[in-house]
């Protein structure tokens, strides 16, 4: 998504916890830069937006992409794992969006793209905090969209399906049957790739979606369509 936005001309600031990974990601983007921040800190969310606006003069697009997961049956999920997932996946998008509202409104509008998941519509026995957080992100998206439409701030969500990342590879290592199960159910016949999300991110960040707000776009190779 960041690469897609950069290729469309945006100046992209990447914010995450790992300095090395941040720097590598930013270096791969034309004009990209990175800031180290742990989004589990609510004050950090406000300071991050403040810093971007101060250093770049504006903030047009906010992509709430950071996410973590915690696996385990609900009865085994540790309290701190529940808190960490909800804080990073749901609270941080809210506090970042809230911080972005004033500068976006002042400059005449903006675009907020929240990364939810197809987990927002499916339950799962082993990732309850993640599923709850992603469903929350979808409802947060709808609520912010209705609240800020008059300020010309558009808020939408992307619902990724199964994507081939380090995170899902780790999950597949634990549950090898997942590989075939996902492939069998996905009409497109493959796992998603990070680059599959560039187009939808650019669409939701650009003037092409100026009358689109409060919606979620599923990007899953047809997984959800195959009932």
């Amino acid at each position: 998504m960041a690469r897609g936005l950069a290729q469309a001309g945006a100046q992209v600031v990447i914010a995450g916890r790992n300095p090395a990974k941040n720097a590598a990601a930013a270096a791969s983007l034309p004009g990209g830069r990175s800031l180290v921040v742990d989004l589990a800190g609510r004050r950090a969310c406000a300071l991050l937006v403040e810093r971007v606006v101060k250093e770049h003069g504006r903030l047009d697009i906010l992509v709430n992409n950071a996410g973590i997961n915690a696996r385990g049956l609900p009865q085994d999920i540790a309290e701190e794992d529940w808190d960490a997932v909800i804080e990073t996946n749901l609270a941080a998008p809210f506090f970042l969006a809230r911080a972005a509202h004033a500068p976006m409104k002042a400059q005449g509008g903006g675009k907020i793209v929240n990364v939810s998941s197809i987990s927002a519509v499916f339950g799962s026995p082993v990732v309850a905090p993640y599923v709850a957080s992603k469903a929350g992100v979808l409802q947060l998206t709808r609520s912010l969209a209705t609240a800020w439409a008059a300020d010309n701030i558009r808020v939408n969500a992307i619902l990724p399906g199964w994507v081939d990342t380090d995170m899902t590879r780790a999950a597949r290592d634990r549950a090898p049957q997942m590989e075939d199960r996902v492939l069998a159910r996905t009409p497109a016949g493959r796992w998603g790739r990070p680059e599959d999300f560039a187009g939808v991110a650019v669409f939701l960040a650009s003037a092409a979606s100026d009358f689109v707000t409060g919606t979620g776009i599923t990007v899953d190779g047809g997984y959800c369509a195959d009932g």
């Binding site: 469309a8 941040n22 990601a25 992509v63 973590i68 003037a207």
Partner: protein
């Protein structure tokens, strides 16, 4: 107006995919953690 042109726009993107994966792995390796 160019529909998909983001020239001059400033975008803040949280959690590069790699950073998210790093968080997963870091948690996974922590003793007693089920990530």
């Amino acid at each position: 107006m160019k529909l998909f042109d983001l020239t001059g726009k400033v975008a803040l993107v949280t959690g590069a995919m790699a950073a998210s994966a790093w968080a997963w792995r870091a948690g996974w390796r922590r003793p007693g953690r089920r990530w």
